[in-house]
């Protein structure tokens, strides 16, 4: 499983990263977590409002900060 966190490096994106790690710990699943800051890639996913959460190539959440619980449900 590959999780990409889309963002230009602001605090919201960091929070999503932390929530994702928490969700992974809580569910006991493993995944490669990558922070993507490249604009071309972010827009390639069709996301205009960061932060964005992409799981295995599909955009699951964009434009808001999901809670760890919400991310855990998506995993």
């Amino acid at each position: 499983m590959k999780i990409e966190i889309l963002g230009s490096g602001c605090k919201s994106c960091q929070t999503v990263y932390e929530n994702t790690q928490a969700a992974l710990t809580a569910t006991g699943k493993t995944a490669e977590v990558v922070k993507v800051e490249d604009m071309a890639t972010i827009l390639g996913y069709g996301v205009m409002k960061t932060p964005g959460l992409v799981i295995d190539g599909t955009v699951k959440i964009s434009g808001r900060i999901p809670t760890a619980e919400e991310i855990a449900n998506l995993l």
Binding site: Y45, V47, M48, S62
Partner: protein, 327 residues
């Protein structure tokens, strides 16, 4: 109408601490306590309620809505939608690129960038609750006009030449439908999440704004405020002061409140508010990634002139029609 926050401040500052009303520190602290309670309470209430009713107005939907429309319609929509979409500075870049990629004219994109930070529904409701509906309506009307005209002016200078080359080459994908939980619990979670996220992001700025407002309220003499705060030079001075200062539209409200209470001109105050919210160094630095300095310089110049005009306009209108509450 009983104001519970004023009551709490009265008890704490003038009562428990026993500080004399009318004395500088006492008045400043009173303002601080009162506004902290008032603003944070309302912030939480308003954001939460809005979170319930906000059909997800995402930039992606806005973009699809605007693209292909006539320039007049697109510009109007960009301003209106900029006013109702929540905005985080770090989204400026992908948003800008997304709009450009969709073939939306640059002037329209600039209109959106002008209205978005200046007008957000939370700030408007907060403004209405603290300073009255008339003032809030004036602020919104002025903001939308500045956005509309500002975009047109930007366009006249053909800003395409200042957009970084890579922007034109980006291909934007389609994000597709995301799962949205519309059950009561889902909406509560969403609204609460929004509330927590926004408050967490802006609480320091709001506290700063209240602090400045409190100092202004406690320490600036009324005659000084009224003399300097009205008259010809007050407006450009207010706008220029707002340029280097940065706060969100929400954080600027307590400062505006303090200014109006002291009798600073209505136009001067509005111009200051807009300048603080719309012109910010962090935002310019972020936008630098997509446009070059001449465009940003022009953007700041256009907005500065616009706010000065708004300031003069409202000072004039106020002397005729008396919108503002006096000291």
């Amino acid at each position: 109408m009983i104001d519970p926050f004023r009551w709490i401040a009265d008890i704490l500052i003038y009562g428990a601490l026993g500080l004399p009303q009318g004395e500088h520190l006492a008045d400043a602290l009173h303002f601080f306590v009162m506004d902290v309670g008032k603003i944070f309470f309302m912030l939480v209430a308003i954001i939460y309620l809005m979170g319930w009713f906000r059909a997800l107005v995402s930039p992606e939907k806005v973009r699809n809505f605007i693209r292909g429309r006539s320039k007049f319609a697109a510009r109007g929509m960009a301003c209106g939608l900029g006013a109702v979409t929540p905005f985080c500075s770090c989204s400026s870049v992908p948003l800008f690129i997304g709009f450009v990629e969709a073939g939306i004219p640059l002037g329209v994109t600039f209109s959106f960038l002008i209205t978005s930070p200046m007008i957000n529904e939370v700030a408007v409701v907060l403004l209405a609750s603290i300073l009255g509906w008339k003032l809030a309506a004036l602020y919104v009307a002025a903001g939308l006009t500045v956005g509309f005209v500002g975009g047109i002016v930007m366009e006249r200078f053909k800003p395409e030449k200042w957009v970084e080359a890579y922007v034109w080459k980006i291909q934007m994908g389609e994000a597709g439908e995301q799962t949205v939980d519309n059950s009561l619990r889902g909406r509560h979670l969403y609204a609460w999440g929004e509330t927590a996220a926004i408050v967490k992001r802006i609480w320091t700025w709001v506290l700063l704004g209240i602090g400045v407002g409190a100092l202004f309220h406690g320490y600036v003499p009324v005659d000084l405020a009224q003399n300097l705060g009205n008259g010809l030079f007050s407006v450009p001075a207010a706008v220029l002061m707002g340029v280097p200062l940065y706060n969100s539209a929400i954080g600027a409200i307590p400062v505006a409140e303090a200014m109006l209470l002291k009798g600073v001109g209505l136009g001067t105050t509005l111009a200051f508010m807009m300048s603080v919210a719309a012109l910010s160094v962090p935002e310019m630095l972020i936008l630098r990634k997509v446009v070059r300095w001449p465009a940003l310089g022009l953007f700041c110049l256009v907005l500065t002139c616009a706010f000065i005009l708004v300031g003069f306009g409202f000072n004039g209108l106020d002397s005729l029609l008396h919108f503002s509450r006096g000291a």
